[in-house]
């Protein structure tokens, strides 16, 4: 039996029961919410419906802002697209609201796609600025188009009909809104627990990190922006058929800013935070709109002062919002391990001794500087090659050429029989190259298991929609099992369900190795794995790398710690000033005069100093 199997069976056996305290608490709360529309006075039911509609928009912003690190001030405008689309189709063309919904989603999706494609190749702040501008122009478009009723809007929007019943009473409508909210919450939760969700979170670590696992940054960002906008569109549809009329006011940029406030104050990383924020801000608004004008003896929407101050204070003192303060007291569930249905096919490994990576006359020029100048070397399967050299010798640049982070100016790099000199990082990863990072890039709020699973991103296929519907569970199970096996292999299985952020640096580096191994690589690239480690941690890392070597893993390691490198590698390539200075076994390199000079520096004899 493979050593990992016992571990997996044990993990499945210790899966949390179906009805954990958290599930029971949630069920109790759900019952309470289900009863509310029947118990509350009618005007309160309307407020509750609004809160649920706003929460849907805020959840979209959590996905966009909290998870991916982008933001939008134009979500009220997307809501407007959903609302106006259904309003026009149902009033002008007398179509069913059930056609208005998909039509609105489609239009919104297209607009979001366009805005995303235009802005998301640039720095993150262009998207929010574009959403402000587009929100402004949409607002005036609504207001100035006679067919849309101008600033007075469209009236007599028909109610939504379900099974022949027109939902005209606010109490009935509250249930439709609740259903929509619950569906959105589930879709979002499913998405975040999936392969795509982990990739979305990895986007925050910067483009280099996510691309290294085969994630297409740009496409992922565009897709998540579209989904987030379509949530708002759904909310707009609900809003239009709840109010039964639409005008431009609720879809202005200022309302869009309000939705962002809900998400920020509530808790920008949490689905429940968005719901909480929507409830808090909406209730507060009701209350302040009553209180402030009396206090100030004037008419006007003074509550924005309070909201603005609340947001600034949140950013200054509790950047993750208010929900985490509540979440701390709630019971947490351990991740469930799914039963295995299928395993990923394993990559065919090249026979030991056959050429795997070959670098020929690689050159990388930055302006006038040749950071890598005419370097050639080979790496055979089953071998461990060390790439060393003094600081500034060009090792990192060489590393970036091989991983596709920064393509070479000229020269050939062949990996697994393919020319990769101009290929992107994701494509090279899919050929079987997996790497670790000099500065550890983990998702500190996720467990070791989930972090490790991210390494298998490129082995699975499910897209965003499948993930939202939980149609990728077979793949997810395979990823879980593979991740558990690799955690067992590196000796971190016991901590599989702990948060990665709680590990010491040495273990975090080992976790990165496990994550790379999940990709089933033919070549493992380690970027200074020992940097910053203490003596004991280095010993552990060294032992692990030796074990991997004995298991036949091919490794290219860039490292400064000579003790570690000399005792581990089969061969060394030494770089200096962008060029290859020497190549050979550790014993040969240690005796090499040029290498000694490069490391210890030039001799400055006194006559030179005179």
């Amino acid at each position: 039996m493979f050593p990992g199997e016992r571990m997996i069976r044990q993990a499945i056996a210790t899966n949390p029961p179906r009805f954990t305290p958290r599930v029971l608490l949630g069920a109790g709360l759900a019952l309470l919410v289900l009863a509310l529309p029947l118990l509350l006075p009618l005007f309160k039911v309307t407020v509750m419906t609004n809160i649920m509609i706003f929460a849907i928009v805020a959840i979209g912003l959590v996905l966009l802002t909290g998870v991916v690190g982008l933001t939008s001030f134009g979500h009220a405008a997307f809501m407007g697209v959903g609302a106006y689309t259904t309003a026009v189709l149902t009033t002008h063309y007398h179509l069913s609201p059930w056609l208005g919904l998909p039509a609105g989603l489609l239009v919104t999706g297209l607009i979001a796609w366009f805005l995303g494609v235009v802005t998301l190749r640039m720095s993150g702040h262009y998207l929010p600025l574009a959403t402000i501008a587009w929100g402004m122009s949409l607002f005036y478009t609504f207001g100035n188009t006679p067919a849309l009723g101008g600033f007075t809007g469209l009236t007599d929007i028909p109610p939504v009909t379900v099974l022949g019943t027109a939902l005209t009473s606010p109490r009935q409508y509250a249930y439709l809104s609740l259903l929509c909210l619950v569906v959105v919450m589930l879709l979002t939760a499913f998405l975040l627990q999936s392969r795509v969700g982990r990739a979305l979170r990895a986007l925050r670590g910067g483009p280099v990190v996510a691309e290294a696992f085969g994630v297409n940054n740009f496409r992922m960002k565009v897709e998540v922006f579209m989904i987030s906008a379509m949530y708002a569109s759904l909310a707009g549809w609900l809003y239009a058929h709840s109010q039964r009329f639409v005008n431009p006011t609720p879809f202005s940029v200022h309302e869009g800013i309000n939705y962002l406030f809900m998400a920020v104050v509530g808790g920008i990383n949490y689905i429940l935070g968005a719901v909480f924020g929507a409830a808090l801000i909406t209730q507060l608004r009701e209350w302040l709109q009553d209180l402030l004008p009396k206090l100030l003896h004037a008419q006007g929407s003074f509550e924005i002062i309070v909201f603005g101050i609340l947001v600034i204070l949140t950013l200054q003192f509790a950047r993750r919002g208010l929900w985490p303060l509540i979440e701390r007291f709630l019971p947490q569930d351990r991740l469930r391990i799914l039963p295995q249905q299928s395993a990923f096919p394993e990559r065919a490994k090249p026979a030991p001794g056959t050429p795997l990576l070959s670098v020929r006359s690689a050159l990388k020029q930055f302006g006038g500087l040749k950071a890598v100048n005419d370097v050639s070397f080979d790496l055979n399967a089953g071998e461990i090659l060390g790439l060393i050299g003094p600081n500034g010798a060009g090792k990192s640049t060489m590393f970036n050429l091989i991983t596709g982070v920064n393509p070479a100016t000229s020269g050939q790099i062949t990996f697994a029989g393919q020319e990769i000199g101009k290929a992107g990082a994701g494509a090279i990863h899919r050929l079987g190259l997996a790497r670790t990072f000099q500065h550890v890039h983990l998702l500190p709020d996720l467990t070791l298991l989930e972090n490790t699973m991210l390494g298998g991103y490129a082995r699975a296929k499910a897209g965003m929609v499948q993930s939202m519907l939980h149609l990728e569970r077979a793949e997810e199970a395979a990823l879980q099992h593979e991740a558990l096996r690799q955690l067992e292999r590196v000796g971190l299985a016991a901590q599989a369900f702990e948060l990665a952020g709680n590990l010491a640096l040495g273990q975090q580096r080992i976790l990165e190795v496990a994550r790379a191994l999940v990709a089933d690589p033919t070549l493992l690239l380690l970027d200074e794995p020992a940097a910053g480690l203490r003596y004991g941690e280095k010993q552990e890392l060294s032992a692990l790398l030796k074990r991997l070597r004995d298991e036949g893993v091919t490794i290219l390691i860039v490292e400064h710690d000579m003790d570690l490198v000399m005792n581990l590698v089969d061969r060394l390539v030494v770089m200096n000033y962008g060029q290859k200075l020497a190549e050979g076994t550790p014993a040969e390199i240690r005796q090499n005069g040029a290498v000694r000079e490069a490391y210890l520096g030039v001799d400055m004899t006194e006559d030179g100093a005179a």
Partner: protein, 236 residues
Amino acid sequence: MSGNLLEVSDLHTRYGRVEALSGVSLSVPQGHIVSVIGANGAGKTTLMNSVMGLLPSQGTVLYGGEPMHNVPLEARVARGMCLVPERRDLFASMSVQDNLTLGAYSRRRESWKADLDDVYRRFPRLLERRTQLAGTLSGGEQQMLAIGRALMGKPKLLLLDEPSLGLAPLIVRDILLMVKHLRDDGLTVLLVEQNARASLAISDEAYVLETGAVKMSGPAAELIRNPELTASYLGG
């Protein structure tokens, strides 16, 4: 004046959960060059940044006998601590002369014209290129400019972080000789280098740093002959 211009004792610096410096102590006597050598990742740059106040740290840093604990970076510069950082951190899109002028920012109310002439006398290359943008200079010239900019602050203590980084051997020699001349003119220097032989050759005392702690120390002339030093660089 005699005694130690800089005294560091039991300095600890952490990055989150990682301790990059664990109890480093060293002293820099007035008018000496003291070098700190060690392999990459040993904590040399962290040490410089902590002494300068760019990074928060625990322990004591005495400069001119005064504790620097509550003194912000800008005030340390005004008191004559000037760091030439590893990445040089020049103002790339500004001219050479502007870079140098800004070096005197903390002394902008004094007259610093003479110091500018002095820097140009030491680095004639910079005078030739004074209207050129700093970002267009060669690596060696950038290093000269970085040192020149620090000199414009009229330092009492010059902190040099890896001046040899990425430079060809001949240029390294020129720059280190320049540092030696500065010492001969009375400046106190704390030099961080990976290039052990070259820096030991111009230093009075030296410390060898390994994983955030001082492994060896002593007069530079003795350390350079110590076989353990070679071992710590090339592995035992």
